[in-house]
Symmetry: C2
Subunit: 146 residues, 2 copies
DNA sequence: TATTGTTATACTCTATAACTATA
DNA sequence: TATAGTTATAGAGTATAACAATA
């Protein structure tokens, strides 16, 4: 039982608007004002996937290698990542997230989740509405992969 | 019938991740590479709400007045907005979006919606799943207001 | 030669401070 | 005096081009 074609455009428009609004609201929530989105994204990637080279990080974040060098410089100065020359291939630089870096990521995610949980409580969402959000999140993840 | 407390944290985490992923995917879709997110947001606001002063735009986009002046300079050079001195209060500058500016906004939204519609079709979402996204969008909009 | 990363340079977006014009 | 907007200046993030070190 596929969806009726006429429902798709309206759903797309609603979902586009809501996604940007909520992302914007969540992005405001930071641990430190000095942490940019770009820096936070790198820390999150390193925390999730472990050490990565500059080139690998640049490809994942879809920026150029010089841009990633600059980003890593800033994070390194703040003690949030470390650089290590790869012994097997001395052209390569392995980047690791430090404990401090992991702390930033985890506190940021925690605060953002607290905002969402607080909002869900204030709106007194029903069990069904929470379930809708849960299922929608899974669907949105699949949509984003296309 | 309020939601069980234990479902909220997991839902918050899923929704946070999915929202950022989908927003990021959609943000990639632009009409012109030269259009930044900041410029597009201003054009969208003007298209939706009509003429606005520099100060009003700065407050809405949560940037400083000098930043908005700079943004408007760039948009004006591209012929996407016009400046008009307010006759009632000659300190004020009214900014209007041009037809070209409206075209950029509409083509961008159209392309982003096409991406979502295409993805929903490829995934062969059921009528129920489309309905879930529709309802979730409304809920996300309310969450973002908190 | 090809790859990895950095440096040099430039443009945009952001900010704060200081300024001009107007109310 | 207060407000609206601009200019001056600086810092971060982005890019391309050119370079050094290594494979």
């Amino acid at each position: 039982m596929s969806a009726p074609v006429e429902a798709l455009p309206a759903t797309a428009a609603d979902l586009r608007l809501a996604t940007f609004r909520l992302a914007r609201r969540l992005r405001c929530v930071r641990v430190a004002d000095s942490m940019s989105d770009a820096q936070l994204a790198v820390l999150m990637t390193l925390r999730l996937h472990g050490r990565r080279t500059i080139t690998a990080l640049a490809e994942r974040e879809r920026v150029t290698a010089p841009s990633m060098t600059s980003l890593i410089n800033g994070l390194e100065e703040q003690g949030l990542v470390t650089r290590t020359t790869d012994d097997d291939d001395r052209r390569r630089v392995q980047v690791d997230v430090t404990e401090a870096g992991i702390g930033i990521v985890e506190r940021t995610m925690q605060r953002r989740d607290e905002l969402l949980i607080g909002a869900m409580r204030e709106l007194e969402l029903t069990a069904r509405e929470v379930q809708i959000l849960r299922e929608a999140a899974a669907l949105m993840g699949r949509l984003a992969e296309r």
